[in-house]
Amino acid sequence: MGPLAPYEIISENTNFLLAFFIGIAFGWVLESSGFSSSRKLAGIFYGYDAVVLKVFFTAAITAMLGLLFMSLFGWVDLDLIYVNPTYLTSAIVGGVVMGAGFIMGGFCPGTSFCGAAIGKIDAMVFIGGLFIGVYGFAFTYGWWEKMYFAKYLGEPKVSEMLGMSDGLFGLFLIIIALGMFYVAEWAEKKFPREEY
């Protein structure tokens, strides 16, 4: 039955329309959980606030369980789900660049637009920096191209690399995530901040 767009159950345009509404809902939830404050995101790096970690890991696990169960019921064909191809070098370099930007700016691309939507000036400055980065990369693409495509791994799955079933890996990931949540909540108590 699914995924809906590759099976032509819904058209590409309907797909975009759904994405539009999902995006609005996503932004609304981010804002109402306080993600429009740059201190929230910086908190994960200083240990006083782990909401970001908890929210995004819970989202990942929810999506994972949803997909695995829907595949089990025959509702979705996992082979047709788009998986970003892995270029190891650019993934690592990009992760470092993004991580540094998160700490310095206190926003991720999504939360910066949330912040800008409620009129935060630091968020707007962050978006400006984001566009400088995007255009800077585009105009100097020739310099990076080789590194950009280095160490191509295809579309690997961690479960395949470890030689276990998707479901078993899912269980391990859930246990790891819960362990991380536990440590994060301990850290929140250990490095409290009165006001932010």
């Binding site: 996992l78 082979d79 998707d166 990931l173 859930i174 246990i175 819960l178 949540f181």
Partner: protein, 207 residues
Amino acid sequence: MKSLKLLALIIIPLGIIIAAVPPDRTRHFRLTADELLQEAGAGVQFVSADVVADMLVQNDPSLQLIDVRTPEEFDAFSLPGAINVPLSNLLAEEYTDLLNQDARMNVFYSNGSVYANQAWMITRQLGYENNFVLEGGLNFWFGNILAATEPAQTSPNEEFAKYDFRKSAAAALGGGGVVSATGDTPTVKAVKPPVTAKAKKKPAGGC
């Protein structure tokens, strides 16, 4: 901490369930309408009668002819080595291993090519590979392989080579009957067709 426990209570049992059940094997392969149309339009499923005749004469073990007509028609006449899988029984479980394999080249045939094409389309939609259709079906086979007509004197050499091949193939294949049914007359068996590379390299569709 309370919400963490609640979350754990919900997701750990779900994780255990998903780890314990076998991965989904009920996945249904489906080509999009566009893809199927493209394949059918390009005629990638067709194997020309000459190629099949050549493989038959050479006893190519990779060829598996599948007769999709009714058992009565199959009993009346069939190509050498063919198996009868009536179109109505195509999806029977006993034939799954035959149709879904990657060792041999299955060639469906019927009187024309309509039923064989239907069989190909169904198996293709199931995601099976290596299934093909005898181009023109048995009608073309009779008219052009077993009863090949001499080309006109002005025809290009290629046509004559094809005719020679078809004539000798027809002789080797029993000239219109089932090989085993017509009896093994040594004179018939002795005739080996000239193996023309040209005739062998003629898969229709031009891939």
